[in-house]
């Protein structure tokens, strides 16, 4: 009975975690470049009970959330009127220089220029460019080609301002999300390779578009319903175990 109580409790804890995760996915349904996460479950250890002389049967002890898995499927592309808004079609990540000087990675390409004409993210971090130089003050027009080269039109002539550098990871699922749409490299993700857009499967840069979140509301809602019902179901096994315990206590009235 005690084991049934705890098995039910592990189920409730696991489903709670699942619901937390679904809520986070739903909260980020409009976050640029967001990648949804999924929770994987595994059963816990089994305890052997002796049946007869040589045979055993085993009783399980519940479930645990074994881990989360980030789904890096391409999100839908949405038209944006700014040429500095970019989306990656492919596996690469934009490389961002964080406030601590380390490199961070993102799929969110809603870039803009700061006061000195340097390319920054929405939160003001610098974007890593090859051969970067500030956009001149008198630039009339800016465009970005599919290889990620940024061109500024000065006095009727286009000048290259720099080229976007993408990073490709052996195992993007291992990246650690640190918030603000940024990811950090970890031993699990492997070391990132800096690649220019259009090379080695990094993908191409699409100017004037942003990548939407890949969260699908319908799927998440269905998952939410399933998780809530599974939570309820496990609460029933806790409740029944409790009732049975009460019956046992009442053998002698």
């Amino acid at each position: 009975m005690i084991r049934a109580l705890w098995s039910g409790a592990t189920g409730m804890t696991a489903q709670q975690f699942n619901i937390d995760n679904i809520a986070n996915n739903l909260a980020n349904v409009n976050t640029t470049g967001f990648k949804r996460q999924r929770v994987d479950f595994q059963d816990l250890y089994y305890q052997n009970i002796l049946v007869g002389r040589n045979t055993t049967a085993s009783v399980g002890s519940g479930v645990r959330a074994a881990g989360t898995y980030r789904d890096f499927q391409q999100g839908a592309l949405e038209k944006a009127d700014d040429p500095l808004f970019m989306a990656i079609q492919g596996k690469g990540f934009f490389t961002i220089i964080g406030p601590d000087g380390n490199d961070y990675y993102t799929r969110d390409g809603s870039f803009r220029l700061d006061g000195q004409g340097r390319l920054v993210t929405a939160t003001g971090h610098f974007v890593r460019l090859r051969n970067a130089r500030p956009v001149p003050r008198d630039a009339q027009e800016i465009s970005v080609d599919e290889n990620g080269v940024i061109w500024a039109k000065v006095d009727g002539e286009f000048q290259a301002i720099g080229q976007i550098v993408l990073t490709v990871f052996p195992n993007p699922q291992g990246l650690h999300a640190i918030g603000s749409n940024l990811y950090m490299e970890t031993p699990q993700s492997g070391e990132g390779d800096e690649v220019l857009p259009g090379q080695d499967g990094a993908g191409t840069v699409l100017s004037g578009y942003i990548e939407k979140s890949n969260v699908e509301i319908v799927t998440e809602m269905v998952n939410l319903i399933v998780a809530q019902r599974a939570f309820e179901l496990n609460s029933k096994s806790v409740e029944t175990a409790d009732q049975m315990w009460a019956i046992a206590n009442n053998i002698r009235r």
Binding site: R3, Q42, A57, A66, P170, G201, L233, S237, T240
Partner: protein, 245 residues
């Protein structure tokens, strides 16, 4: 009378175990490729009862003194299939398993959510065995599984998943973490396995039938308690009332 109390007690103990197994099934209602367990009970062996009268014995008939656990069986059925579209999600046909490498030796699993982990094709944190041992993956290549179990890197065959069936006098024991241990018998790799790609097998637990089993188990427990209780009351009468005027 004492026999009756003991029989009722065995029924209560049995239902506690039943309850534990059902609770474990319910906890794993959302675990990938979980196979549900079912408790099988049997009665104690019958004992022939005799009546003694005037130095002679007359047989009354058989008597069993309660119930006992026979086995906890794992139901080898296939759970519902969920389409995920991931190239590394697979589902296996009934009775076939993936072989994985664990520190304790080779184990088998039906989990199909394959991953890239520390340079190897893995599932649930364990390295998957191919026909030629563990399957090392290189960085930066696009991996997928074909519907006959071959592992492809950018469309080029790297290895084939070791999908096995079992023959002989074998038993599969659950070890937790969705792994099975083979005891007795042989694991035979299938030459050309049939694999569903982009699909995940869900748990085989059906919430409705488990809930029914849960309620039934609870009521059987309650009934056994009543039986025990009334035996106790009768015994009380016998002890305290018989012989009183």
């Amino acid at each position: 009378m004492i026999k009756g109390i003991l029989s009722a007690a065995t029924a209560m103990r049995a239902q506690v175990l039943n309850q534990e197994v059902i609770a474990n099934n319910l906890a794993n209602v959302d675990t990938v490729a979980y196979q549900k367990d079912k408790v099988v009970f049997r009665s104690f062996h019958d004992v022939l009862m005799y009546r003694f009268d005037n130095l002679s014995q007359t047989a009354i008939g058989g008597f069993s003194s309660g119930t006992i656990l026979h086995d906890i069986a794992t139901m080898d059925t296939v759970g519902g299939l969920e389409t995920t579209g991931r190239p590394l999600d697979i589902a296996l046909p009934q009775g076939t398993y993936l072989a994985v490498e664990t520190p304790a030796g080779t184990r088998y699993t039906r989990m199909g959510n394959l991953r890239y982990e520390d340079g190897f094709l893995s599932v649930g944190g364990y390295r998957i065995l191919g026909v030629a041992g563990v399957i090392a993956l290189e960085a930066g290549r696009e991996y997928s599984i074909s519907d006959d179990g071959r592992v492809l890197a950018d469309g080029e065959v790297v290895d084939r998943l070791s999908v096995v069936t079992f023959t002989g006098d074998y038993e599969l024991h659950k070890e937790g973490n969705s792994l099975f241990r083979l005891e007795g018998g042989y694991a035979n790799p299938i030459e050309s396995p049939r694999v569903l790609v982009g699909v995940l097998e869900k748990s085989t637990v059906d919430p409705v039938s488990e809930m029914v089993a849960l309620i039934t188990s609870m009521r059987v427990y309650e009934a056994a308690q009543r039986a025990l209780h009334s035996h106790d009351e009768t015994l009380e009468q016998a002890v305290n009332r018989v012989g009183r005027v």
